[in-house]
């Protein structure tokens, strides 16, 4: 997280502002001399330091940035120049995205001749797949350990992410940046070709093209150390210097039948929970497109919620359905562990005893020949009281796929659950539940938690020449497939909640799914999202593809957008004025305890620039998603997630030319010589002034 303020170097500030032609309040960028020297790289993403209870992972640079001579590595042999042959270490390596592999990174890590790395994003994505996550995601924080299903712990039975090279969880002592813009990469390569290539057999000559990366991280060692330093600073310092922040945000949840959020649920009431995660991660900070790992699942979930709310007897079902969207699941289940903790301590309206069954949607977009797999927990499946309920759950699921182009199949009953939020609930209590995924054993997703998990990864293709409005509404095959999954889920949930009517009328709307996919994967600033958000949140929508990283300051854009979309799809429009909507206690017929009221800005009138706002009544709530380890101040906890993100002041990158050491020393020597010479000359002239300047007829001193 960036810390604002702080003392910058005085010299450059004083000197730099002198030549700045800007008397207005506009930001004074660089003076003309600085523009002659440096080319800043604007479209980059850094790799930052994350810490958990025992380790630090990520990258670190020196306090005043790391500088190195640029070397472009396009094939493996180029690396020898950097590691052994090159005469001007340290080098700043510009790497093609294809070569960004674990074994190359370990070679770079072991040498001192590398001062930094810039990775050029590879278009198209590497064909063999790339995943910097672990092979066994969230290992040790799920349900399988030495007491519960030891043969399933640590992925002994199934390796979920075989392509995972674990780079995101390595510690590097040099900065690594991602170059997102191909034009900037070309500028760097041009500078390299003009100055850094060897000429006529001899080595390259000065001046050489160099790059400087600034990404100094304040936190070190692990979460225990940095939180302890935080507490010391907060206790004793007048202006505390916090060094790290816990990863936290909010979970979004909503119920089909409204419940009183401030009172606890009756023990006899039962709830069916349907859950998905809404966050992802990649090697680089705030780059987390998460198309297959997160977006596909929560979009299907949202579509199922919309379909269920349209069912006529939804409010008379015997059991309630709770739609839960967990944030922070990528980092050892922050959101779900917090919800379970709150449920155990009666801080949440729903208790663990109220949960009838649990359905989770994992990655569902890359279905191979329309197959969708049902995963259940083998250990609780052997429990005599839970087993029949699990069987009934699976039966319901298999029945719900009749008539839909989805082939539901159950995986082998001795296979463990994939990494999922359901595992945290199982840790607390044996609950019957299932996880739906498009993979039978290993992930179908070859770019799990990487920068390449984008709309292209889930095969979203639009025809050429469509306007943004048309693209928003165009139903791709992916949208159709996710709508089918949502239909299955909605029908299963209806039956699990005790519904007895005909389920064939329950259908998810592919158009809604395609609008959500467009909004969450391509551009959030579209007309539909603009019409469903609050009025004062213009900064929420952008033109770039949105990133779904949990971050440290909340709420992040993804959480807010999921909240607004859920409210729009499951809520009802009520006829309140703005005053009444913002203060529901004054509105007649409003029930502040059961519902949440939001004043949204509405869509634009045709042929007009003004919008028609209205009030939405929904059951959408937010709960805090901060790991219980930070509530309990157990920073070394092995039971709850302890992930924190370091703070930093300045992250930027720039390229420039460096001169040879000889020229610098010559300049210094010439300067000192001139200084000494002039001092001596002045002294002698002054001493002999009476002789030198004595001429008759003129005024003497």
């Amino acid at each position: 997280r960036k810390v604002s303020g702080g003392a910058a170097g005085l010299g450059p500030v004083v000197g730099g502002s002198l030549n700045c032609v800007s008397f207005s309040s506009g930001v004074c960028w660089a003076n003309s001399v600085e523009r002659k020297i440096y080319i800043p790289l604007n479209r980059t993403a850094p790799c930052v330091r994350l810490l958990n209870a025992t380790h630090q992972v990520g990258c670190q640079s020196s306090m005043n940035g790391d500088t190195g001579v640029i070397h472009v590595v396009e094939k493996d042999q180029d690396l020898n120049w950097v590691l052994a042959d090159g005469p001007h270490p340290p080098y700043m390596v510009l790497l093609e995205g294809e070569l960004f592999t674990r074994e190359l990174m370990l070679r770079l890590k072991g040498t001192s001749r590398v001062s930094g790395l810039a990775v050029a994003i590879s278009k198209p994505s590497p064909p063999r797949g790339f995943s910097p996550g672990l092979q066994c995601p969230n290992d040790g924080f799920g349900v399988y350990d030495s007491d519960y299903g030891p043969q399933y712990a640590h992925c002994n039975w199934t390796v979920w992410n075989p392509l995972g090279n674990g780079l995101s969880y390595e510690d590097f002592h040099f900065p690594i940046f991602l170059l997102e813009d191909a034009n900037e990469t070309q500028v760097i390569k041009q500078c390299y070709q003009d100055h850094n290539l060897p000429r006529n057999g001899s080595g390259p000559e000065y001046p050489l093209c160099a790059m400087q990366l600034f990404a100094h991280m304040h936190a070190v060692t692990n979460t225990v150390t940095c939180m302890r330093r935080n507490s010391i600073q907060s206790t004793f310092s007048l202006s505390p210097e916090v060094v790290c922040d816990p990863l936290s945000d909010s979970n979004v949840w909503s119920t089909l039948k409204p419940i009183n959020a401030s009172r606890k649920m009756d023990p006899a009431d039962e709830v069916v929970i349907v859950a998905t995660r809404i966050d992802s991660h990649s090697f680089f900070w705030n780059v987390a497109p998460g198309a297959e790992s997160a977006v596909s699942s929560f979009v299907a979930h949202l579509a199922a919620a919309e379909a269920l709310h349209k069912v006529p007897d939804a409010l008379t079902l015997p059991r309630n359905i709770m739609f839960t969207f967990f944030q922070g699941e990528t980092f050892d289940y922050i959101g779900s562990s917090r919800m379970v903790y709150d449920m155990e301590r009666n801080k949440f309206p729903v208790r663990l005893e109220n949960i009838h069954s649990f359905l989770e949607l994992s990655q569902v977009a890359l279905r191979n020949s329309s197959a969708l797999w049902v995963h259940t927990d083998p250990v609780s499946g052997r429990n005599e009281s839970v087993r029949p309920q699990v069987r009934a759950l699976v039966e319901t699921l298999l029945n719900s796929s009749l008539g839909v182009n989805v082939t539901l199949q159950e995986v082998s009953q001795s296979q463990p659950l994939p990494p999922s939020s359901f595992q945290r609930f199982l840790r607390a209590r044996p609950i019957p539940g299932a996880v739906l995924a498009d993979h039978r054993a290993a992930f179908q997703n070859r770019y799990y938690q990487s920068v390449y998990d984008t709309a292209e990864n889930i095969l979203m293709r639009y025809p050429e020449g469509l306007s943004p409005e048309e693209t928003l509404d165009y139903v791709t095959d992916t949208a159709q497939s996710l709508a089918e999954v949502a239909t299955v889920v909605a029908r299963a949930l209806y039956q699990l909640a005790g519904g007895t009517g005909n389920t064939s009328a329950i259908q998810a709307d592919p158009r809604t799914v395609s609008r959500m996919l467009y909004g969450f994967l391509i551009k959030t600033n579209n007309s539909w999202f603009q019409s469903i958000i609050k009025q004062d949140l213009k900064g929420l929508l952008g033109d770039e593809p949105p990133q779904h990283y949990i971050a440290v300051s909340y709420p992040v854009n993804t959480t807010q957008l999921v909240q607004f979309v859920l409210a729009n799809l499951t809520g009802t429009v009520v006829n309140f004025t703005k005053e009444e909507c913002l203060n529901p206690e004054r509105a007649p017929g409003a029930d502040k305890e059961m519902y949440d009221y939001t004043w949204v800005q509405g869509s634009r009138e045709p042929n007009s620039t003004s919008r028609v706002p209205f009030c939405v009544q929904s059951t959408v709530h937010l709960t805090k998603a901060l790991s219980p380890a930070f509530e309990l101040k157990e920073w070394g906890s092995t039971e709850y997630s302890t992930w924190t993100e370091s703070r930093w002041k300045d992250i930027r990158a720039r390229i420039f030319l460096v001169a040879s050491k000889e020229l610098e020393i010559i300049t210094l020597v010439v300067g000192i010589a001139i200084l000494v010479l002039s001092l001596l000359a002045t002294y002698f002239i002054n001493a002999k002034a009476h002789v030198l300047f004595s001429s008759p007829g003129d005024v003497a001193y």
Partner: protein
């Protein structure tokens, strides 16, 4: 370009001026006052001329490159003329000051002569001019990069330092010449100062062809130095005598 270049360029640009200051000015409080006041006068002249240029630039179209170049040339011209005008104003002020100093002194004689004032005033002008030319370059010289990524010459810092040194010297000699011209009513001396100032400032438009700006400036500097030396009461005979005297001292003399 790192610390070595920073110190090297600082010493090149300000070394001679530092020597002159240390040896001739800093021990005499009156000269210090005149130095600082001179620097201030130059600063005011720069402020006014830059205000005029800034208004002209803001009022014009920033995309029109020939117009911007023309405005820059006009700005330089105006600045040179304004600096010389302020030099004249300072001369007038110092003249008045001498009358005051004479009135205050015990023996009816001013503790400082107008020639000394001329030298110190010129040095003050030069120091402030050099500071404004060089300080922001030095700040950027501290960073790791050197000029050149857009194709400019690598010797940018070095040539700027040498140019600053020559400008400081030139201002000192112009001060001496100008005040002498004002004292003895020789208007052609003042005109020569203005003309050479214009030539030196104009020659900087030859940059990045540094030969075109440095060599004329250094030649002019040596010419001004010789002229100022003659006007200050020195002559070549004394110089040669001094040098010969030194030689005869070093060679062993019989019987002494």
């Amino acid at each position: 370009m790192t610390l070595a270049v920073f110190w090297g360029c600082t010493c090149i640009a300000f070394g001679p001026a530092l020597g002159l200051c240390l040896v001739t000015v800093l021990r005499h409080p009156l000269r210090v006052i005149i130095l600082v006041a001179g620097a201030f006068f130059w600063l005011v002249s720069l402020l006014l001329s830059s205000l005029v240029w800034f208004i002209a630039v803001k009022a014009s179209d920033p995309g029109n490159k020939p117009l911007q170049k023309g405005l820059l040339i006009f700005g330089v011209l105006f600045s040179v003329l304004l600096q010389e005008a302020f030099r004249f104003l300072y001369y007038k002020l110092l003249r008045k000051a001498i009358e005051g100093l004479v009135a205050l002194s015990e023996d009816g004689c001013s503790p400082i002569s107008i020639q000394q004032m001329a030298y110190v005033a010129g040095l003050g002008f030069g120091l402030m001019s050099g500071a404004f030319s060089m300080i922001n370059l030095l700040a950027d010289a501290l960073g790791p990069g050197t000029v050149g990524i857009h194709g400019d010459s690598q010797l940018y810092f070095l040539t700027s330092a040498f140019m600053t040194m020559v400008v400081i010297f030139l201002h000192t000699f112009w001060g001496i010449l100008f005040f002498h011209g004002c004292e003895t009513q020789r208007w052609w001396e003042m005109a020569a100062v203005v003309l050479t100032h214009l030539i030196v400032s104009g020659s900087t438009f030859w940059n990045p062809l540094y030969v075109g700006s440095l060599i004329p400036s250094y030649l002019l500097m040596f010419a001004m130095a010789a002229w100022a030396y003659v006007l200050s009461g020195g002559c070549t005979r004394n110089l040669l005598q001094r040098l010969q005297g030194q030689q005869s001292e070093t060679s062993p003399q019989p019987g002494s």
